[in-house]
């Protein structure tokens, strides 16, 4: 009895170990490609990208073109209706939001999940947090919430707001370095 169960688990775990070795690098590559695509989608054109850096509010990538910084891509998250919403938010160096993309979410399909759709995400493109207010119109802000999904829309705004904080810290640090 012990021998049978023992040998089955031994064979199975050996099989899993081998398979993990085989697939580990493709899995890592796939995850990396996903991040790279998200960064490319949220930033203006760039030719070199820094490693992932961290500051007190979160982590970010610095992008530059011909040696000049052109944008910052910030990893940001907040808690939505069904779990964490993770965003990648890209900024122009003047502080305007270039674009944002949802990396991960667990919102209700058909309702909150619409935050991944163009009609909602488009309003953040070119959004200048210095001029407009980053909250839903119900709370006196300048973002139109998704119908029947105010919590998701608020969470999205909070995540973008966090990204703005990161961006401001980064700009301050970079300028003090010079």
């Amino acid at each position: 009895m012990v021998v049978a169960l023992g040998s089955i688990t031994l064979v199975c775990s050996a099989l899993l170990g081998v398979m993990h070795e085989v697939t580990a690098s493709p899995i890592e590559a796939a995850a990396k490609a996903k991040t790279q695509n998200a960064i490319a989608a949220v930033l203006p054109e760039f030719d070199s990208l820094s490693e992932l850096k961290t500051c007190e509010y979160g982590s970010y990538y610095l992008a530059s073109k011909d040696g000049e910084p052109v944008g910052v891509a910030v990893n940001s998250k907040s808690s939505g209706f069904g779990g964490n919403i993770k965003l990648m938010v890209g900024f122009h160096m003047d502080g305007r939001i270039c674009n944002s993309q949802v990396l991960e979410h667990a919102e209700t399909p058909g309702l909150g999940a619409k935050c991944t759709e163009e009609s909602f995400a488009a309003q953040f493109r070119g959004f200048d947090p210095a001029v407009k207010k980053l909250s839903v119109s119900k709370d006196g802000g300048d973002v139109d919430a998704i119908t029947a999904s105010t919590i998701t829309s608020r969470a999205y705004c909070v995540a973008v707001e966090n990204a703005v904080k990161v961006f401001n810290t980064v700009v301050k640090e970079e300028s003090s370095n010079e």
Binding site: L5, I8, L16, M19
Partner: protein, 194 residues
């Protein structure tokens, strides 16, 4: 039982979703669209075929007392292998289904076929049984997903045939129960008359 019968019985007579009512958790959770239902069905079929074959090959070496834990270990191994492979080579499918893949382990269909069929039949017959029941499950999930997607989002396999939103409740959890119940009635009334 003829070889062909082994495959076809999974579609009507022993249909896992509409007749045996097994594996309700993935059935209700993943059928928000036809594509999701089909992917879940195919993933389960893959595990079912392999676990059926493996279990029928080793069944006679396993003492009766530890057979259920042994089957679960075998099934869990195949599910984890599938998860690794999907994560590595089809990350987009993994993004939608990832959460539900581990659930295949506790899907009663897989353990049910191991216990009811694979441990007393030949490897070849068990493979056919896995194909039949797996495809029956896939077709059922696809149909259920199609109905929910059509009513809930006005599209079929992602192709939109109706502007705007449909009856949203069908994409949400209560709609899963409703749609399943309607289909169950229709299936029993017209296809699997008893």
């Amino acid at each position: 039982m003829s070889k062909l019968n082994l495959i076809t019985k999974g579609f009507v007579k022993d249909n896992p979703t509409f007749v045996l009512l097994l594996g309700m958790c993935p059935t209700l959770a993943t059928t928000t669209s036809a594509i999701n239902g089909m992917s879940m069905g195919l993933a389960t079929t893959f595990v079912l075929i392999l676990s059926n074959m493996a279990i029928s090959a080793i069944a006679r070496f396993i003492p009766d007392k530890v057979r259920i834990p042994s089957y679960i270990v075998v099934i869990a191994t195949f599910v984890t292998l599938l998860q690794f492979v999907m994560q590595a080579y089809v990350p987009s499918v993994y993004d939608t289904l990832g959460l539900f893949i581990p659930l295949i382990v506790v899907n009663c269909i897989v353990l049910g076929r191991a216990e009811a069929f694979a441990n007393k039949n030949s490897v070849f017959d068990s493979a056919l049984d896995g194909i039949g029941v797996g495809l029956g499950f896939t077709v059922s999930l696809t149909v259920l997903g199609l109905v929910r997607e059509a009513l809930g989002s006005g599209s079929a396999f992602g192709w939109k045939f109706m502007p705007g939103d449909g009856v949203l409740v069908f994409v949400l959890a209560p709609g899963a129960f409703l749609a399943l119940a309607y289909l169950l009635v229709l299936f029993r009334k017209f296809i699997a008359k008893q």
